[in-house]
Symmetry: T
C-alpha cells in the first residue's frame, strides 16, 4: 500500500478480544482476527491504510487516541461507550473525524446500554450489523475523507 | 433490472421533501430527487430493486409499510422516529428486515430527538452521514439479504 | 335489525387490519373480519346496531369520532393509545360513552404501552382477553345504555 | 349446582364491605351482598360454581389465594392493587387464571392509583363499569376456561 | 383587498371544527366560522391578507405548512401542540415567523398539556384569551412584518 | 364520664407498643401506657370520651376504623403512614374528622418517611412534639367538634 | 383622562430597569421609559387608565399587588416568574384579572425559565414579542374588562 | 404581664395580612387582627409574652428572626415555606425552638406546596386547623419551654 | 441442645410455605420443611438454638420480631422486603443483629424487587444461593455472635 | 489608596452578619468584621479598591449589583445561591466578571445546596476554605483584571 | 493441594490493598494479607484451590477475568461495583459462576453505592460481614461447584 | 528547597497532557509544562515542596494517590471527576487534605460535567480560572497546612 493513502485507526474496546469465543449467540462466531482481516481487505480496496488495535483499559484507549497519527478513527468503545467521559474528551481534543461502531443494536439491549458518551463527539454511528458495522464505517470514513 | 432481484422499499418521512431547499446548513444542499437517484444507482450496482417514497402522514407510512411487497425496508422516519408507535408496530408486524437511517447524528441534537421508537424493531441504525447514510443502509441490506 | 336500536361505533386502530396474518403468537389467529362478524352477531343478540371500521391515520380516527351519529363508542386505539391527545380530545368533545379495548394485556408489555391517554376519557377499560375484549365491551355498553 | 362445574373464587379487597353504605357517589349504592347475589346468579347461568369473600388483611388475602381449590380467580384488590407484592406473588405462585376487577376507572383517579402490581400477573383487567365489572369478569373467565 | 398585502396563514388544529358545538363551558360558544369572520375582519383592517384552514391530520398540517405561500403563520396546534415533532420540523424548515395560539390557558390544565413542541420554533405564544387569542396574534404578526 | 360526651378513637400504629422500651433516644422514655393515661386525663378535662388502641396489622387498623362508633379519629399510623392506601381509604370512607399525629418530626428523617398517604384524608397533621402531639390533637379535635 | 376609566396596573419585575442598557441583543434597545410611554399612549387610546411600576424586591411586588386599587393587572414577573409563590398567592388573593407578559419567548431559553408559577393564576400569557407583548396585553385586558 | 415571662415571637408570612378579606372559602373569615387577639389572649393564660408581626419580604423576615430577643418562635412562612432557604438558615443560625404553622393542610393542596424548607429546622409542624393552628403551636411551645 | 446456646429466630415471609410446590424452576424443588431441617441441622452443628416460623401477614411478622427472645434474627422477608416499613421499624426497635436472606438474586429480577427496606437495618445481606442462603446466614450469625 | 485602582465589590448574602456568633462549628469563629478587615488588607496589598456589603434581602442585592460602579464582583450569595434567578439575571445584565464564593464546601452539605444559579454567570467558583475563600477570590479577580 | 481440586479466583478491587491501614473504623483492622490467609486456609479445608489478586485498574481486572483458568470467581469489585460495565461484560463473557462480595453493607452507605452492575451477572451477592463475606462466598462457591 | 518543607502532590488527570495543543479556545494556550513551571515557582515562594504528575489511567491515579508520601493533594481529575468512585475512595482512604481544581467552570458546561464524585472528599473546590486555579489551590493548601 502506498504511503500516501489516508491512515485510519480502528480501536476495539474491552472484551472484544473474546469475539467468536464467547457468547457467540449474541456476537456471532467470527473472531477478532477474522474481522480485522476483512477490515484490512476492504480498506485496501478503498485505498485506506488501516491499523487495528484491541485494548481493555480506558486509559490505554485514551492514550492511543491521543497519539493522533491518523486521519480518521473508527471506534467500538464496547462497555466504555456508556461510562467513559475520558475517551469522549480524547476524541474531542484530537478533533479527527470519528465513527462509532457497535456489533449489536445497543438500543435493543439493557437500558444502561442505550446512552453513549461517544456519539456526541462522533460524525455518526453505525450499529446492529455485526462485523459488517466496521465495513460500513470504513466506507463512511472514505466518503468523509 | 431483472424481476427476480430482491425488492427494497425506501421510505422518507415527514418534511424530507424539503431537502436541499430549506435549512441546508443542517441537512445539506442535495435535493431528495438527487438522493433518490444515488440510491437507485447504487441499488442497481448491488443487484437490488429499490423503490422510494416520501410521505408526511403517519397513517400513510403505516399503510405503505403494511403492503409488504418487498424483502427489506430502509426508513428515515424523521420526526416520527421519536413519537410514532404506530410505525413501530407496522414494522414489527410485517417482520421484514429494516434499517433505520438518519441524515444527521440525532444524538447530537435536542434531547427529544435522542429517543427512537423505531430502533427497537430495526436490525440496525445508521446516522450522521448525510445522504451517505442511505447508501450505507443499502449495503447493509445487501449483506442481510 | 330495527332502525331504533342504539347505534354503537367500533373503531379498530392502526395495524389491526393485520390481525390473524402477522404475529399470531401475540394477537391470535383470528382475522379482523372474523372478529367483526362475532361483534355483529353479539350486537344483534343484545339489540345493538353496530358498525365497525379500521383506520390507520390519527386524523382519520379523529374525524370518524367527530361524526357522532352513534350512542356509544368502542375503541381499540392500538398504538395511538399511548401517543394521541387528538383522539382523546375528540372523544371528550363528543361526550358519548366510550369503552377502551385492548386484545393484549398492555400492562404486561413494554413500559411505553402502560400509559393510555384514552382511559382518562373512557367509561372503562377492558384488556387482555383477545377478541373477547370486544364482546365484553359490547355487554358493558349494553348496560351503560 | 353440579359438583363438576368449574370453581371460581371471587375476592373483594379492603373496605369493599362498606359498598353501598359510604361514598355512594363514587362507588354506587349497591351493597356487597347485592353484588354477590348478582355474581352468583350469573355464575349459575354460565355454569360456574362461584364463591365470594371479602377480606381487609393483606396476609389473609394471600392465604385465601394460596388454598388454591378453584379453577380461576376474580380479584378486586382495592387499595392493595397499588401496594401489595405479596398478593401478586401469591397469584403468580398458584398459577391459575386471574382477572383483575375495579369498580371505578382507576386511571381517572389519583396518580397513586394508576399503577397495579396485580395486572402483571393477571390474564386481563376490567375497570370502570361499577358492579358490572364483576359480571364481565365472570364472562371472561367462562371464555378462558 | 389588494394583492400586494402580506399573506397570513391561520391553521386550526384537530377538533377545533367542533368549537361552539361541544364543551362550550371550556372553549366558549363561538363557532369556528364566527371566529374566522372576526379574524378576516381584523386582518382587513390591519392590511393583511389572511386565509384560514382547519385540519385534523398531522400530516395534512405538515403539508399545508410546507406550501409556504405566506409571509407569516398563526397556528393553534391543539392536541398536536404536545405530541408533534413533525409540525415543529415543518415550521422550522419553512422559516417564516409563526405565532402559537391557544384558546385556553394550557398551563392551567392537565400536566400533559403544559409542554409545547411548537413554542420552541415560534416567535411567541399567546394563550388564554379565547377567540381573542387569534386577534392578538394577528396584531403581533402585523408588528413583526 | 357521661354517655353523651363525644367519642374519640385514638389509634396507635405498628411498633408503638414498644414506646419507652426501645430507641428511647428517638422516641422518648414514656411508655404507651403512660401516654394513654395523659390522653385520657386531658380528654376528661375537655369533655371528650376517648378510647385508645394499639395495633400492628394494617388490616386490623382498617377494620377498627370501619367500626365507626366515634365522632372523631386521632391516628398515629407510624410505618403505615407511608405505605397504606387501605388505611387511607378506610378513613375516607367513614368520613369522620381525623387528625394525623407523629411523635417525631417525620420531615427531618429518612426520605421515605416524608410522604404520607394519610394526610390527604385528614383535617390536619401535628408532628414533632413527642407525646404532646397526641394532646394537641385532642385539643384540635375539641375545636373541630 | 376621565376618572371613571378602568385602572390597569402594570408591574415590571426585577432587572427590567436595565432594559435598553444591557444585553440589548436579547431584550432589544428600547428603555423602560420608552416602553412605558408606549403603554400609556395605547392605554389612552383604548380608554384605560394605566399606571406602571418597576420593582426588584419580591416582597415589594407582593405589597403593590395587595393594594388592589385597580381593575386589572399586567405583570412581567421576570426572574420571579420561576420562583415566587408569594407573588402567585398575592395575585390569587386579590382575584383581579391578570395577564402575564414576557419580552422574550421563555420557552426557548434555559430549562429553568420554562416553568411559571404565575401562569396558573393568570387569565392568559403573552410572550416573545418584545415590548409589543405589553401592548397586546393591554388589548387583552380591554377585552376582558 | 410580668417581664420575666418567656418571650415568644409569632411571624406571619406574605399575604397573611389579607386574611378574612380574600379567599375566605379557603382561609376562613377571621382577620389577622382577630387571630392575633386570640393568640395574645391564650399566651397570657399560658404565661407567655407574645409579640406578633406580619411581613411580606423574605429579607425582612430573615432580619426579624435574627434579632433573636425571644425564647421561641412560631412561624407561618406562607409562600416562603416552599422556596426560602434564607429563612431556613436564619432559624437554624439562631437556634431557638421553632414551630411551623399553617392554616390549611398544605399536603392536600398543589404539589408545590407539599415541600417545606422550614420543617427541617423546626421542632414540629402543625397544619390544617385554621387559626387554631397558632393556638396549638402556643401550647406546644409552652411544653417545650 | 443445651439451654445456654444462643437463640436464633428464622422468619420466612409470605408465600414461602409454597416452596417446592410452585414455580420450582425459579425457587427450586426443596420444600420449606426440608429447608428448615437443614437449618436446624447446621444450627446444631454450630451450637445455635434455632427456631423457624413462616408467616404471611405483615403485622404478624412485626409482632413475632417484637417478642425479642432471641439473640439474632435471620429473615427472608419475601414480598415485604420491598414494601414494609413496619417490619423495618420492628427490626430497628429490637436492635438485635439481623441477616437478610433471599433465595433468588433479587437484583436480577423485576425492577421493583431491587429495593429493600430491610437491608438498611440489617448487618448484612445474602441472596441468590437458594436454600444455601439460609445456611450461609447461620454461619454469618455464628461469627457475629 | 489611589483613586485609579480597580474597584471590587464584595457582597455577603443573607445571614452572613451572624458569622462568628452562631453555628461556629460549621462556619468558624471569625466575625464578618474581622473577615472584611482581612479582605481590605489583602486588597490593598494587591492594589485593589474593595468595598464590602452584607444584605439579607434578595431585591436589595439585585439593586446593589445593578449600581455597577465596580470593575469586578465577589459574591457569597449564601441561601440565595440555590434559589435566586433575580440575582443571576442582575449579574448577567451588568456583565462584569464575578467570582462566586462559599465558606463551606456546598457539595458536602444538603442536596438542595448543591445547585447554584449563580455559577452559570460567574467566571469561577471557590468554596470550602472558610474566610480564605474570599482572599483566594480577590487573587483570582486580580488575575482576571 | 491436589491439582484436580477446583480452581477459584478471588479478585480484590481498587483500594483494598489499604485494608487494615486506613479507615479501620469502617473496614476493620485486618490487612489484606491476613484476609487472604484466612481465605486460603478455608479453601484448603473445603477442597478448593484458591488464588487471590488485588488490582486497582479496571482494565487489569477485565484482563484477569478473561484469562479464565478457574472454575469459579469471587470478586469484591469495590468502587468499580457501581461504575464498571466492562467488568460486568467480562464476567458475562467468561460465563463462570461468580459471587459478588462486599465487606460493608453497601445498602447502608451513600446512594451511589446502592447500585451494582456486577450483581446482574453474579450467581449471588454477600455483603456486610467484613472479611467473613469472603469466607461465606467460598462456602457458597463450594455448594455451586 | 529544604527537605523539611511540606510536600504537595499535584495530579493532572486524563487528556491534560494535551493542554495548549488542542481546543485552545476552551482550555487556553498554555502547555502543561508551562503550567507546571508556574506551580513549582509559586510553591517555592510559599515554602512548599511540590511534585506534579499527569496520568490518563484511572487505576494509575488511584495508585499514585495511595503512595501517600505527601502532606496535601491538589487534583484536577478532569473526566474522572464525574465517573470515578475509585479515585474518590483513594482520597478518602489516605485522608490527606485535598483540593479539587478545574481549569474551566464545570457548572457552565454539559450537564454531565456538573456532578463531581471528588468534591465530597475534598476540603474545597476551585474552578473556572484557567491555570490560575492551580495557583489558588496552592495558596489554599498553604493556609490549610
Amino acid at each position: 500500500m502506498k504511503s500516501d493513502t489516508p491512515k485510519v485507526l480502528v480501536i476495539h474496546g474491552p472484551n472484544l478480544n473474546l469475539l467468536g469465543k464467547r457468547e457467540t449467540d449474541i456476537y456471532g462466531c467470527r473472531s477478532l482476527d477474522e474481522i480485522n482481516k476483512d477490515i484490512i481487505s476492504l480498506a485496501s480496496e478503498l485505498g485506506l491504510n488501516v491499523s487495528t488495535k484491541q485494548l481493555n483499559g480506558e486509559g490505554d484507549i485514551v492514550e492511543l487516541i491521543q497519539q493522533g497519527d491518523y486521519e480518521a478513527l473508527i471506534i467500538n468503545p464496547a462497555a466504555y461507550t456508556h461510562t467513559s467521559i475520558a475517551i469522549r474528551d480524547a476524541i474531542a481534543a484530537i478533533g479527527k473525524p470519528a465513527v462509532e461502531v457497535h456489533l449489536s443494536n445497543i438500543y435493543r439491549r439493557e437500558e444502561f446500554r442505550r446512552k453513549s458518551f461517544i456519539t456526541e463527539v462522533s460524525a455518526g454511528q453505525i450499529c446492529g450489523f455485526g462485523p459488517d458495522s466496521y465495513l460500513l464505517a470504513l466506507r463512511a470514513i472514505k466518503s468523509i475523507l
